[in-house]
Subunit: 199 residues, 4 copies
């Protein structure tokens, strides 16, 4: 996405705008952040913003789209590992969700908080992608039940909701530099969930 360039200055303005916007949206919220706020940080004018984006909403959509697209791509890589057990696939999904939130901090928080400010149409698009992710988790549970890795009595959809809930919720509270490392957290939750559902 970012082509090779010699120095900072040549980084494309559109990326700069997106990056700074994410930080502002995280700190102040989407609706409370004005275009003026954004361009002030970059030392440019509003005209510049509108040269790169049709609207404020389009910028928010781009942020959402990038986040969910990346997430789905990474999930696909897990799903493609044919020889992996469902248990391990589930663990990998838990790892993906948690690490992505922690590593993408600001983007993640904007992604989870500001969905409502998309247009109906765009909101539906993002929701569909998020649903795809969840259904993939559900499928792993389903397969794990059929293959005897998980208990037969489970309701896979509810389990999937539980898994994304427990992991996604961390965007609300996880702080880098605390006493629990990302990988520790992954272990704790994977352990808890697998113990909770396995045969």
């Amino acid at each position: 996405m970012k082509k090779y360039t010699a120095g900072e200055d040549s980084v494309h303005m559109k990326e700069k705008i997106t990056k700074e916007s994410i930080l502002l949206f995280e700190k102040k919220g989407f609706s409370t952040t004005s275009i003026q706020d954004i361009v002030d940080v970059l030392g440019v004018t509003k005209g510049t913003f509108y040269y790169y984006f049709h609207s404020k909403e389009q910028l928010l959509m781009d942020i959402h789209y990038d986040y969910i697209t990346t997430l789905l791509k990474r999930q696909e890589q897990i799903l493609n590992k044919d020889q992996m057990s469902q248990k391990d696939k589930l663990t990998e999904n838990i790892r993906l969700l948690i690490r992505n939130i922690i590593e993408e901090g600001p983007s993640a928080r904007v992604f989870f908080r500001e969905l409502r400010h998309l247009t109906d149409e765009n909101r539906d698009k993002i929701r569909q992608e998020r649903k795809k992710f969840r259904l993939n988790v559900e499928k792993i549970v389903q397969l794990g039940m059929e293959q005897g890795e998980f208990r037969k009595s489970l309701k896979p959809d509810m389990v999937a909701f539980g898994i994304v809930g427990i992991t996604n919720w961390s965007y609300n509270w996880y702080q880098s530099g605390g006493s629990t490392s990302p990988e520790e957290l992954v272990k704790i939750y994977a352990d808890m969930i697998l113990n909770g559902i396995q045969n």
Copy 2:
């Protein structure tokens, strides 16, 4: 001051405003809902709104305060049951969280989504109360570990975050009238969590 009456009209204006605002905030979001939107629904004027509330933010604070206060009161009733096992207390907390979200639907969604629009001071107040709730859950886990009900290897704070995550997340997706009843959901999650952490 409020005499006993049978009908709708006697409900105090302040309560009406609060009730309708919650519905609008849920549907359109706090910052996208104008005072005009609110008073239009009630067929009154903006002056009336400001007769009962200092500001739009105060209304939001009232909603938050009511929600968390009620929740804490109900939690206290559980904590007071001295003869109850920690397992059962945890189950009761899960039940409380889930049922409250489902029963208070719109209020719950406003509570979880619009915290950011409170002033710094009020946001801190609400966060403190939410923290109290979570620490009470943590304490149950702690006691359960000491009394041999739960595994010794757990990190009670992380477990508590997991529990509120899995339950609270339901505000995002649970729809009344679906295939899983509130009580079924409670059972599923309580089962999953207890299996996940017990000895």
Copy 3:
């Protein structure tokens, strides 16, 4: 104006409102002081205010009217002293203007600052009364010139404007408790003016 009464409580509400309003108008300005501000100080409600006054403007008019009426009455007493020289009459007028401003502090400041907030009609009325006062000063100068007390070359109208200017201006700066007493100030200005215009 205030009839004999046994205690504080029986002082008529209308006077209380007027008194407190003057203090508030002085401190915050007429347009920045709300009826609510006024009634809050007195612990009553807005209805009470409107029982005694048709409008906020009427209250302001009352304050203006009281001030200028009192001033004119006191001036009349000076003018009636037939055997007094014009010099002494002028000195007495200077004393009246200065002492009234200092003694009526808040009322005086409201009187000089808030004229503009009267309706056109009322503003004209007050201006007429203020003009009467000034013309009386002018007449003293005129008589003094004719009787050889003051220089023949004076323009009585300009002198009168000068006299009210020098004295009225003190509402802007005079502070009780400073190094110059009211009576000293009277002496200084009377001296300066009389030296400035006498034969």
Copy 4:
């Protein structure tokens, strides 16, 4: 940035806004003049106003600041004339005060009437500058006393207040086109004051 042009249209919008605002503030008063009133006169929209000014108060501050700054600059020119007698310097100061009020008519009236509507901070700033002007007058009186031009018995601070009072008051009543020209008025007041204080 502003190229040379012959006509009205090329005057910068900010100056136009300031000019028209002064006229409106003079006629209707600051608090009674709305931003809408201002922009209506100019045939632009409120957004345009806020493109040039942060707030209504900033515009008022600009007006005040311009007025007092110009006045102080002109006073400095008088003070710098080393060979001039204190008497003449005083006369020049009287001339400056009166002519400035008459020539800047509307600005002067806004300056004298609307100080109260500045924020506390700005009001203090303007008051400090006004004080500088007055202290400079006081100094002239002081020097004139020491050099034997004025009577030894004077109180320079009270005399200075008297001088600015007598002159500034003219903003209340002086009307161009009346029977007394600005220069005549200067002569009359200078004469009166100097006679009043000289040895």
